[in-house]
Structure formats: structure tokens, C-alpha cells
């Protein structure tokens, strides 16, 4: 990576990058990050509305707000949306915006591939949700268990939308994972050694490795399922000799690493926020890195704890119980290091700290119920009950969403140049914290009392009424907390953009440049001699650093915008999406071939287009 502003001759003036066309052809990691963030937040709100409808339906016994069939679609799309269209791309927003900034790079390793990932993600998300318009939303659960998902039990396009949509989204994730893997390894600034990287970059790096190794497995599982549904095979059909449990194995070999894909970026964000607002370096940096890596490694050896009820026998049950409990050790190391970071710190009670501490507390609750699931006899009592729903919302909402929200408040000034309102931020926190606990804590009780998951209603007299009603109130409070967030965002965008470069006294490189950063990020990369380079500079300076100036950037060579990533993404949609029509349209393969031609053309134009 070039390090100085004078390295290169003045280049030709940058092509026009404004307007809608500028956004379509952008290869700037910051703009793509904003695209990821806004798109994912829309999907997140959609998934939240789906959840609220479910809560309203369950508010009282024998409710008829939605039908059983609609309820099936709601919980399927809620899970699918929150995981693949909410949390993963919200994490991708931070990968995009902050990995290059935190390692002192100009951009990601492959800017055009980055744009491609976004466009494939967007088209995949729209494809899955398009099913609502055809009244054919996926309805077999986000885990898509065979053989419920076979044509015998799931005729219609519902499951096809799910299978093909996930394949499209998988391509986006794979392309992004390769890109960020190389970005962390290669274009680091001089002095930014691996063991000096910010913890967010470390956890993101581990996440990319998980993505690279986990996604091919679900790709294969989805291919088998598609072949069963459209091309006459029997991979998961017992009548043809197939074994539905194979689906569960393949799905969870992907699915368990996937939960670490969802949580590790949030771990990274919290590990950034806590030191800055404690005015202390992260406690046990190296232990944090290795416990993250150990969690990821163990994450590939625990998948069958999702399958204790399939009856795998005592040997397999014991193995997966022990390996699952073992994960509590590195996770505990992280929790204690976060507490150690806070301990004795000069705590600055700003909104990001609230959410980060909330994340640690809520994740502990989810982690403890997770250890309970690791015990097969206990799990057999809890499986398919609301206890499980409570558990994974404590880790994925209490963990991932609280962590991501901490990141949103922490980095919003850097991304927009505007400060979010602190009072509204704290109101958001308290509403979310109370609403979350009121919604999900009683699910532990309901689950242990025998209320099953995924039921669209329940009769009166089973002792389910009270807590369900309370949970719905909690869910409405939780929804209201996001209205406060939206209000805060709206109010902030009406205010002038005068956020300082470093509103929080941050430790990492991104706080040394203006907010929002200029297109080229760093005109000159500052020296990196530790994992807290901004604090080093401040200490050497003896007093607060002067506000960095916006510089001309003349002569800095940035990648050119390109339309080919978006064109290629349309080709991907054509090839995979056309499989939807194998039963409906006689010459469906004409669409496949058209998609393939667009894909082929896009890739060739892309390959032969100069990147700079």
C-alpha cells in the first residue's frame, strides 16, 4: 500500500461519482459499507415487524389475528431475515467501513469484488422477500429440515424461494469472505502487525475464516435439496433410500459456525468500545485473540448438539456434549477480560458503553442457558420448547444486536460526521434493555412449562396466558426502542455535520482522520507501534491532537468505479433464480442461459477492465 501523498503523480481527475449511478458503480469501501448498513437495517426492521405480528398473535389464547399458515411464514422469514439479511450484513457494514480504516489501508483488497458482494446480497434479499408478493413466502423454518422441505410436504414455490435465495446470499457471503480475509492479511499499514490489530479486525478475520469453511457445506446441502425438489433425486427422501438426518448434519455443520459468524463481530465491537470508554487498554489482548480463535475452532466440532433428539447414541452424545461445554471456557475468558477492562477504569458513561455493557450482561444469560443445552438429558426436555427461543434470543439479540448497536453509536460520528443525541441514545438503551428482558426472559418459564416453539396459538388453561401477554408488552416496548433510534437518526441528520475526528478519545487509527473520512482514507499513514496507535500519538503529543485537516488528495490513486460487479450480480440472480421456474415454465433453461450469458459477459468485462 502506498504510504505517502507524494508517492504518485497526479492522476486523471476522478470520474463523476455522484447521484444514483455513482452509488451503483461505487467501489469505495465506505460507500459500500453505508449501502450494506441501510439495506440491512431495512431488512432488520422488516424482520422486527414479522416478530411483532407473531407476538400479537400469541398475546392471548386461541387468537385469530393470523392463520397457522401465515404464522409458519412469519417465523420462517423472521429467522431467515434476521440471520442472513439483518445481523450478517449489519456486521458486513462494519467490516466494510472499518476493517480498511483500522488497519490503515486505502480500501479493501478487491474493491470491485466488494461491490459485487453487496449487489448479490441486495438481489438475494429482494428475491427471498419477493415471495411475499406471490403469497408464497418460505414456511418450513429457517433450518429447512428435510424431509418437511421435500415436495411431498412443501409443494409450491415457498421452499424454492428459501433454497435459491440462500444460495444467492451464500455467493455474496463467500465473495465478501475471500475479500476481507485477504484485506486483513495483506494491505495492512507498515507496523500494523497481526498482534497489534484492533480486536474488531481480529474477530472479523476469524469470522471470515468461519464463513469460508462453513458456507460450502450448506451450499452442498441446498444443492441436494434443490435436486430433490426439481430433478428427481432422493438425497433426503426415505422412500428412495435417502436419510433426512443427513440434512441436519450438513445444515448444522454450517449452522453452528454460523452462530459464531453472527456473534464474533459483535464481540469485536464490544472489545473496541469497552477500552475506549474505560480509558484503559483491553485487558488480556492476546488471550482475547486466542480465545476467539479457539471458539471458532471448537465451533466446527459441536454441531450435533442441535440434534440430540435424533438419537445418535451415547458415544456421539457424550462427544458433542463435552465439546460444547468446552466452548464455555474461551467464552468465559472473554467475559472476564471485558470485566477486567472495565475494572478500575475511568468509566465514561456514554451511549456506546451502555450498549456494550448490556451486551456482556445479556450474553452471559444466553451463555448459561447454552451450557444447559449442552447436557443431553436436559436438552431433551428443552428442545423445541420456548426455552430454546429464550436462549438464542439472549445470544443473538442480547449478544449480537446489543453489540452491533454499541458499534452503531460508537462509529456513527465517524461514518456520518454527526453526533447522535446522547439523551435519546440512553432512552433507546433503557427501552431496549427493559423491552428485551420482558420479552425474552419469561420464555424460559414458558419453555420449562412445556410451551412448544413454532405453534401459532395455544388453548386457554395451560398457564401460558400470563407470560405470553407480558412478553407481547415487552415486544412492543422493544419495537418502540427502535422508533426512538429512528427518531434519533432523523433528528441528527437535520443538525449540522460538525462531529470532531475523535469524539470519544479513541485508541485506533480511524480516529486520526476527519469524520467522515475522505475517499482515500489516509493521506499519510501514521506510525503504528502498538495496538493503540491513536493513544500513542496523543501521549507523545502531550495534549489533545489538533483536528486533522481535509487534504486535497491530488495524486492519490484510487480504484475506478465500475458497473460490471452489478451486471455480474444480475447474472448470478438469473442463473440461480431461474431454477424457481423448472416446474412452472417449459423453457425455464432459456432464463438460466440468459443469466449465464450476462454472468459470463460481466466477468469478462470486469476482468479486462483496468482496476485503477
Amino acid at each position: 500500500m502506498a504510504t505517502g501523498v507524494l508517492d504518485h503523480a497526479p492522476a486523471a481527475p476522478a470520474p463523476e461519482t455522484t447521484g444514483i449511478w455513482g452509488w451503483i458503480t461505487t467501489v469505495d469501501h465506505k460507500r459500500i459499507g453505508i449501502l450494506y448498513g441501510t439495506t440491512a437495517f431495512m431488512f432488520f426492521l422488516l424482520g422486527g415487524i414479522e416478530a411483532l405480528i407473531m407476538r400479537l398473535q400469541l398475546m392471548k389464547p386461541d387468537n385469530t389475528l393470523v392463520s397457522a399458515a401465515t404464522f409458519n411464514s412469519l417465523f420462517t422469514m423472521h429467522g431467515t431475515t434476521m440471520i442472513f439479511l439483518g445481523v450478517m450484513p449489519l456486521s458486513a457494514m462494519f467490516f466494510n467501513y472499518f476493517i480498511p480504516l483500522q488497519i490503515g489501508a486505502r480500501d479493501v483488497a478487491f474493491p470491485r469484488l466488494n461491490a459485487f458482494s453487496y449487489w448479490v446480497f441486495l438481489l438475494g434479499g429482494l428475491f427471498v422477500n419477493f415471495s411475499f408478493l406471490l403469497n408464497a413466502a418460505p414456511n418450513a423454518g429457517w433450518f429447512g429440515y428435510a424431509n418437511l422441505t421435500e415436495t411431498t410436504y412443501s409443494p409450491g414455490l415457498n421452499t424454492d424461494f428459501w433454497v435459491l435465495g440462500l444460495q444467492i446470499l451464500g455467493i455474496a457471503s463467500m465473495a465478501a469472505a475471500i475479500n476481507f480475509f485477504v484485506t486483513v492479511v495483506n494491505p495492512r499499514a507498515p507496523g500494523m502487525r497481526m498482534l497489534r490489530m484492533p480486536m474488531f479486525v481480529w474477530m472479523s478475520f476469524i469470522t471470515q475464516i468461519l464463513l469460508l469453511l462453513a458456507f460450502p457445506v450448506i451450499t452442498v446441502a441446498l444443492i441436494f435439496l434443490m435436486m430433490d425438489r426439481h430433478f428427481g433425486t432422493h438425497f433426503f427422501i426415505p422412500a428412495g433410500g435417502g436419510d433426512p438426518v443427513l440434512w441436519q448434519h450438513l445444515f448444522w455443520i454450517f449452522g453452528h459456525p454460523e452462530v459464531y459468524i453472527l456473534i464474533l463481530p459483535a464481540f469485536g465491537i464490544v472489545s473496541e468500545v469497552l477500552p475506549v470508554f474505560s480509558r484503559k487498554p483491553l485487558f488480556g489482548y492476546t488471550a482475547m485473540v486466542f480465545s476467539g480463535a479457539f471458539i471458532a475452532f471448537l465451533g466446527f466440532g459441536v454441531w450435533s448438539h442441535h440434534m440430540f433428539s435424533t438419537g445418535m447414541g451415547p458415544f456421539a452424545d457424550s462427544f458433542f456434549a463435552i465439546s460444547t461445554m468446552l466452548i464455555a471456557v474461551p467464552t468465559g475468558v472473554k467475559i472476564f477480560n471485558w470485566l477486567g477492562t472495565l475494572w478500575g477504569g475511568s468509566l465514561q458513561f456514554r451511549t456506546p458503553l451502555y450498549f456494550a455493557v448490556g451486551m456482556v450482561a445479556m450474553f452471559i444469560v444466553g451463555g448459561l442457558s447454552g451450557v444447559m443445552h449442552a447436557v443431553p438429558p436436559a436438552d431433551l426436555q428443552q428442545t423445541d420448547s420456548y426455552f430454546v427461543v429464550a436462549h438464542f434470543h439472549y445470544v443473538l439479540f442480547g449478544g449480537a444486536i446489543f453489540g452491533l448497536t454499541a458499534g452503531a453509536y460508537y462509529w456513527f460520528p465517524k461514518m456520518s460526521g454527526r453526533m447522535l443525541d446522547e439523551t435519546l441514545g440512553k432512552l433507546h438503551f433503557w427501552l431496549m434493555f427493559i423491552g428485551f428482558n420482558v420479552t425474552f426472559f419469561p420464555m424460559h418459564f414458558l419453555g420449562l412449562n412445556g410451551m412448544p416453539r413454532r405453534v401459532y396459538t395455544y388453548p386457554a388453561g395451560l398457564n401460558f396466558e400470563f407470560w405470553n401477554r407480558i412478553e407481547t408488552y415487552g415486544a412492543l416496548l422493544l419495537g418502540a426502542s427502535f422508533l426512538v433510534f429512528l427518531w434519533n437518526l432523523g433528528a441528527t441528520f437535520r443538525k449540522p455535520a460538525h462531529a470532531p475526528a475523535d469524539p470519544w478519545r479513541g485508541a485506533t487509527l480511524e480516529w486520526l482522520i476527519p469524520s467522515p473520512p475522505q475517499e482515500f482514507n489516509y493521506a499519510e499513514v501514521p506510525p503504528v507501534n502498538s495496538s493503540t496507535p491513536a493513544w500513542d500519538l496523543r501521549r507523545a503529543h502531550g495534549r489533545p491532537l489538533p483536528e486533522p485537516l481535509r487534504v486535497s488528495g491530488a495524486g492519490i490513486h484510487m480504484p475506478r468505479p465500475s458497473k460490471w460487479p452489478a451486471v455480474t450480480a444480475v447474472g448470478v440472480l438469473g442463473v440461480i433464480g431461474s431454477m424457481l421456474l423448472t416446474h412452472a415454465v417449459q423453457h425455464w433453461y432459456a432464463i438460466t442461459l440468459t443469466g449465464a450469458a450476462i454472468l459470463f459477459y460481466g466477468v469478462y468485462r470486469w476482468a479486462f477492465e483496468p482496476a485503477f
Binding site: 500500500m1 480475509f181 495483506n186 469453511l213 452442498v220 446441502a221 435436486m227 433410500g241 450438513l250 486535497s552
Partner: protein, 219 residues
Amino acid sequence: MSHAAAPPRPPPPPAEEHPTATGIDNRKLAIWALIGSECLFFASLISTYLVYKGKSLIGPLPHTESQCMLHGKLQTCEGVFEIPLVTFGTAVLLFSSFFVVLALYGAQRGNRKMLIGWLAGTVLSGMFFVGMQVYEFTHFYHKGMGYGTNLFSSTFFTLTGFHGSHVTVGVIWLATLLVLAVRGKIPAEKALNLELAALYWHFVDVVWIVIFPTVYLLR
């Protein structure tokens, strides 16, 4: 960080010459990451083949006689595999890995004749392998082995079909480079462009080294 006028400088170097933290080219690292990911892809396909080995409810079977439906009636079918043909195809594919090494050697030394000759040999070998597979698939189909006939046929066609599509992508990639080489657009300093394709090509061959004994030789 100032507006001071920069003195005239030579034009910027091409992107691939930017030094990286590891000294490894970005694209090369990306291919390695892709290969790591593909390992899990083929591992899943091969595992499924092995898990379902011997579980087919009806013929035809790979090695042994079985009852199968042919021309609308149940009859005894022989094992479908023709090991000698596939052994020959395997040998050709493995030699193509050697050819692409020689082509890269030529490219790195600016020996265009060597580059074009061996690269053409690689592409032809790859095409032969794909052709062999097309013949084999057609032959199997005529023996009553459709895609969904039994678990053996589904797992076999999916595994070898995805391998074959990887070979096809490799052939298209290498053929594109061959066209560039003929036009003189792969000088020694751009040999990396060929090295990337060669890395992928070796990987595809290595996968076949696993598939061939597992599928064709293991009884």
C-alpha cells in the same frame, strides 16, 4: 498533509506491484482462500457419496451386478464403471498439471513458444477429460442410470458433475489465457496471471486424485 505542489513523478506502478504486508500478491492469497473453501465443498460431496455407498434400493451399481429398470422392465444389469477409460482420463488430467507447470516456466522466462505450446497442451488435456466425462455420463444414461435413479447415481453424478464443471471453468480460464498468450499479452512480468489459473488447476486435479480412488477403485 499539505497542498504543496508535487514534483512530476513517473506514472504509478500497476496495482499488483504494490507491496503487501505478507509479500504475497492479493490475488494469489484470494485463490488460496477459495481453495480452502472448495476443500469443504468437495469434502461434503465426497462424504455424502460414502455415506450413501451401498444404500441404493435399485440398480445399476458401480461395480457389481444388480436388478435395474431398463427399457421399462426389471432386468439384471452389470456394474457400470469402466475403469480403464477413467484411468486413462485421470492420467491425462494429471499430466495436464505437469504441462501447466511447464507453461508457467515458459511464461516466467519470457519463452513464448514454450508458454503457448504447453498451455495449449493443458487446455487440450482438460478438454479431453471433460469429453471423457460427457461420454461416460451418456453411456451410463443409456445403461439405465438416470440422475435420480438411485442414491449411487445421484451422489455420483453430483460429485463428478461438480468436479467436471470445475474442470470446465478451468479450461475456459486457461483458454482465455492461451488467447492472450498468442497475442503476446502474457510477458514475463505478468506470469502471475497464469500462476493463479495454474494454482486453481492443480487444486482441481488434486480433488480428482481423491475422487478417483474413492469412487472408482473402492469397492
